[in-house]
Structures are given as structure tokens and as C-alpha cells.
């Protein structure tokens, strides 16, 4: 009897709200495709000369900072070697020496399953790279215009004064893999805001600028401007490093998506709808 008279514990309230506008959703996925193709065709372009240098030219008397190659080991068998700042690593199977699409072992920088096209084909890789470069630029410009115009930038991405005070707690939450619930989950947290803003306004434009620095014609706009970044070959190295940082960002981004409710996140980026579960009121 006593049990029946107890009030039932309040059900947590669940509801969905529109988290991402259609424009953001479309531009997000266009960006995913463009960046994936740019990365993989970029690695194929890199494979045409799988070494990175620091300085104004490749032949300055200094060794490369990174070199991927194949060579014969002491026992005569070919091995893949990756040399970074003078330190050699055996990377057979992945870097330097890997199976080609026909099944045989071949000398190549990055393996065939990471490049577009998969076989050694520089001219075609450039076609892909420069086509998707424009998709990326046009999509990115559209995103910037939209974000300013719709106040997406000011309302959702620029940290508020309260955000800045919560940096420490947000850092701690991330390390403990703790995610906000209820009303709080409706806003990006401060680390997320800072990361998105630095990728959108820092890393990606920097990567584009370093890409332009590789063009002998863009060099003539202000002859010598590439020396600000250490010279033409340094610019090529920085273009590569920037791309790797984008890969790192995507890896962390996907990891966070996976552990903070993968279906909810995916649904919100596909249909816009994100589900909020309110903590029961005491």
C-alpha cells in the first residue's frame, strides 16, 4: 500500500530541437567530401617526390627534414624507410614500400589505399586536387558569408564572457570525457568554440595560403613573399603539416562525436534535429 502511494519518480523529459540549419548541414558535408579528396589527392601529389625540405629550394646543401623511400636491407630484401630529422624508421608495408593495387610490393611514399588515384598518376591527382580546391574555397566562402550574415558566428561560435570563465572546467570535462546534458548541451562548450574558430579562421586559411605559395605564378604577386615562411620548400612542408593538423582535428572531432552520442550527433548533422534529455527536476 505504502508503495502505491509514493509519487512516481519524474520521467526525464526528452525532446528534439533544430540544432543545425540546412545551410550548415549541406556545407558541412560538402566540406567533408572536399577535404577528403584534397587530402588523398594531395598525398598522391606528395608521392611524386616523397620528401619535405626547409628552405628556399630542395637542393640547398641541407638534407630533407622528412624523406620516405625504399631501400635494400642487409639481407637484400627491400624495406620501406621513413627518415624524420635524420632518424630512420622502418615503415615497410605502409610508408616507402607497400602493396600496389595489382598486388605486388612497390616503392611509393603513401600507400595506394590512402591516395586518389590509387596508382602513381601525378597529372590525374592534380586534376582532382585543383577541382576540389575550388569546391573547398567556394564552399568555405559561402560558409563564412552565411555565418556572418545569419549571426551563426556571433551567436554560436564566439565565446561569451561566461564561456571564458569556464575554460578550466571545460578542459576537465573533456579529459574525463564528460559531456553536458540538458540546456547546456544546446550550446557549444568553450573549448569547442575556440577549436572551431581557430580551424575556420587560422588553420584552413593558412593551409590555403601555403598552397598558393607553391604556385610559381602566385609568387610574382609580391616576389619573395614565400620567404616570410622560410622559402618555397618550407611553404610546401607547412602545407603538408597544416593538412596533417586538419587530419588531427578531424580525428578528435570524430572521436568526440562517437563518445557523445553518435546517432544523436549524426541525426543533427543530417536532419538538423538533436535530442535533449533534461535532467529530472528534484
Amino acid at each position: 500500500m505504502a508503495i502505491a502511494n509514493d509519487p512516481a519518480p519524474p520521467e526525464p523529459r526528452r525532446y528534439r530541437y533544430v540544432r543545425h540549419s540546412a545551410a550548415v548541414r549541406i556545407m558541412h558535408w560538402v566540406n567533408v567530401v572536399a577535404l577528403a579528396v584534397l587530402l588523398m589527392s594531395g598525398l598522391q601529389i606528395f608521392n611524386a617526390h616523397p620528401a619535405l625540405y626547409w628552405g628556399k629550394s630542395s637542393y640547398s646543401g641541407r638534407p630533407p627534414v622528412l624523406e620516405i623511400r625504399a631501400q635494400r636491407a642487409a639481407d637484400g630484401r627491400p624495406v620501406g624507410i621513413t627518415e624524420v630529422f635524420g632518424h630512420s624508421f622502418r615503415t615497410t608495408g605502409v610508408l616507402g614500400l607497400s602493396t600496389d593495387p595489382e598486388g605486388g610490393l612497390a616503392e611509393r611514399g603513401f600507400p595506394a589505399w590512402l591516395t586518389v588515384p590509387s596508382n602513381q598518376w601525378l597529372a590525374m591527382a592534380r586534376r582532382w586536387h585543383f577541382f576540389f580546391e575550388w569546391i573547398f574555397i567556394l564552399n568555405g566562402s559561402a560558409y563564412l558569408i552565411y555565418s556572418f550574415w545569419s549571426r551563426h558566428l556571433l551567436n554560436d561560435l564566439v565565446p561569451t564572457r561566461r564561456d571564458w570563465r569556464s575554460v578550466g572546467r571545460s578542459l576537465w570535462d573533456h579529459l574525463l570525457l564528460r559531456h553536458p546534458v540538458g540546456e547546456q548541451a544546446k550550446h557549444y562548450n568553450v573549448l569547442q568554440k575556440i577549436t572551431y574558430l581557430s580551424v575556420i579562421f587560422g588553420l584552413l586559411p593558412f593551409m590555403v595560403l601555403m598552397g598558393l605559395g607553391l604556385s610559381p605564378r602566385w609568387d610574382t604577386l609580391w616576389p619573395g613573399w614565400v620567404d616570410v615562411f622560410g622559402g618555397r620548400q618550407s611553404v610546401r612542408t607547412l602545407h603538408f603539416v597544416a593538412a596533417m593538423l586538419v587530419v588531427l582535428f578531424v580525428a578528435v572531432h570524430v572521436f568526440e562525436v562517437l563518445i557523445s552520442g553518435v546517432w544523436n550527433n549524426l541525426r543533427s548533422m543530417l536532419t538538423g534535429r538533436y535530442e535533449i534529455t533534461d535532467a529530472p527536476k528534484p
Partner: protein, 255 residues
């Protein structure tokens, strides 16, 4: 738990299968009849934007002696496999002559000593290869614009075609290249006969190679035999304006 593990394995395997399928799809796109043409619009757009935003006569960066590469890398042909070329090389190119003809008022032939007696320009520039490497060298030669003044191009001439001595395959297809009149008349476009203060070595294109400093290395034809002015280059070689262009590389190599 085992259930969730097998689910995870299933998800991972489907992800791997999906990415393999996407990659195979990309390769099929590369070999399709429509994609190369469509993707080319990207390179065309690069050219349009670069030409619009950089001045027509903007100079490429020039360097100092201390930036010179210790050895200027030889790429492509290192010594043309051609009896006629080897015969000319044996006598130090004393009998070699550059033919300049096509859509010009005064076609001519120029010997090495005639070229050396003309106005010269020396420049330390960076050579950017399409593969991604670069080397810095000091080049001395005749500005192509000087040679053009001599032969007087007809108004219909739109391109300068460089015909070379080096055979590129068993069929005997020889290297060739072409540029438009803007690049041909550019002050840094020279017909170089010296590299780093020495007679141009055979590995780097002796007796004469062209320098087109605002484009990639494959435009800078070596082992020049003939310069031809044309209105279009559809009838030459594979019709794309150059040996590498016929293999799928873009004619405008400013990127």
C-alpha cells in the same frame, strides 16, 4: 558484451568495405570519359584568377649567389638519344643552328655565337618541378623578346612552340613545348646558354634551353632546335601544346 563487440566489428568491417568501394569508385572516375574534362575546370579557373590578379609582366623572384643549389638537378632527358644531336655535341655545337620560323616576317637561323653576341640577361631563379622539388640556378641567355624583334612575328601568331632534340619514346616523339605571347615576351623569358657561369651542360639542356620563370619546370624545354610561331597548336604532336600536356598535364603550368 560479446554482442556489442560483434556489432562493433560489423560496423568497422562495413566502414572498411565502404571506403574501399569509394576508392575503387574514385579510380573509375579517374578513368572515365567525363571526369578529366570536368576536373580540368579547376586548373582553368586557377589560370584565369592568376592571370587576372597578377600583373602581366610581374617578375618571378630572383635570388642571390648564396642561394644557389650546389648542383642543379637534371631531370627528364640527361643526354638525347639521337645520332644527329650527338654529332652536334661532339663538335661543341659549332654546327648547331636554331631555326626560328612559322608566322614571322623574317625567318632566320641563329648559331650559338650569334646568340651569344646578342643582348643578354643573367638571372638567379628558382626552378619548380611539377613533382614538388625545386632548385636555384643562375642562368644567362638571350631574352626571347630580342629574337622575336629580329624575326618580327605576324599579327596572327599567338603561341611560340619550342621543338627539341630529345626523343621521348621508341616512336621517336620528340619533346616540345609552347607558351603564349605574354610569357614569350616576358623579360625573364630567356634562351639560356649558360648555367652558373659555365657553358650549359648537356644534362641541363645544351646548347640552348628556354627559361619561363612563372611556370613549372616542364614548360622549360631543353635541347632547343627550332622555335616556331603559330596561331594554334592543335596540329603539333598530340595537339595539347607540349609533350607532358599530351600525357595529361595542364598546358598552363602556373600552379
Amino acid at each position: 558484451m560479446p554482442q556489442s563487440r560483434s556489432r562493433r566489428r560489423f560496423l568497422l568491417r562495413s566502414l572498411l568495405t565502404a571506403s574501399a568501394a569509394i576508392l575503387a569508385g574514385c579510380d573509375r572516375i579517374s578513368r572515365s570519359s567525363w571526369a578529366p574534362g570536368l576536373f580540368r575546370t579547376g586548373e582553368r579557373a586557377n589560370r584565369a584568377v592568376q592571370k587576372a590578379l597578377t600583373p602581366r609582366n610581374a617578375l618571378a623572384q630572383e635570388f642571390s649567389e648564396s642561394d644557389l643549389s650546389p648542383e642543379f638537378r637534371s631531370n627528364g632527358t640527361a643526354s638525347p638519344d639521337d645520332p644527329e644531336y650527338q654529332r652536334l655535341a661532339a663538335t661543341g655545337f659549332a654546327d648547331w643552328k636554331l631555326r626560328v620560323d612559322g608566322l614571322v616576317e623574317a625567318p632566320t637561323q641563329l648559331s650559338l655565337s650569334q646568340l651569344r653576341s646578342m643582348k643578354s640577361r643573367t638571372q638567379i631563379t628558382r626552378h619548380d618541378c611539377v613533382e614538388g622539388w625545386s632548385a636555384i640556378g643562375k642562368w644567362t641567355g638571350v631574352p626571347l623578346s630580342e629574337v622575336l624583334l629580329l624575326v618580327r612575328p605576324q599579327p596572327t601568331a599567338r603561341y611560340v612552340v619550342f621543338h627539341c632534340a630529345d626523343p621521348m619514346d621508341e616512336d621517336g616523339t620528340r619533346y616540345y613545348e609552347s607558351v603564349d605571347m605574354d610569357d614569350a615576351r616576358h623579360p625573364q623569358t630567356i634562351l639560356a646558354y649558360e648555367l652558373n657561369g659555365q657553358t650549359l651542360p648537356i644534362a641541363n639542356g645544351a646548347p640552348l634551353r628556354v627559361r619561363i620563370e612563372r611556370q613549372l619546370g616542364y614548360k622549360m624545354a631543353k635541347y632547343l632546335m627550332r622555335i616556331e610561331l603559330v596561331a594554334e597548336f592543335k596540329h603539333i604532336g598530340g595537339g595539347n601544346g607540349g609533350y607532358w600536356e599530351d600525357q595529361g598535364y595542364e598546358w598552363y603550368a602556373g600552379t
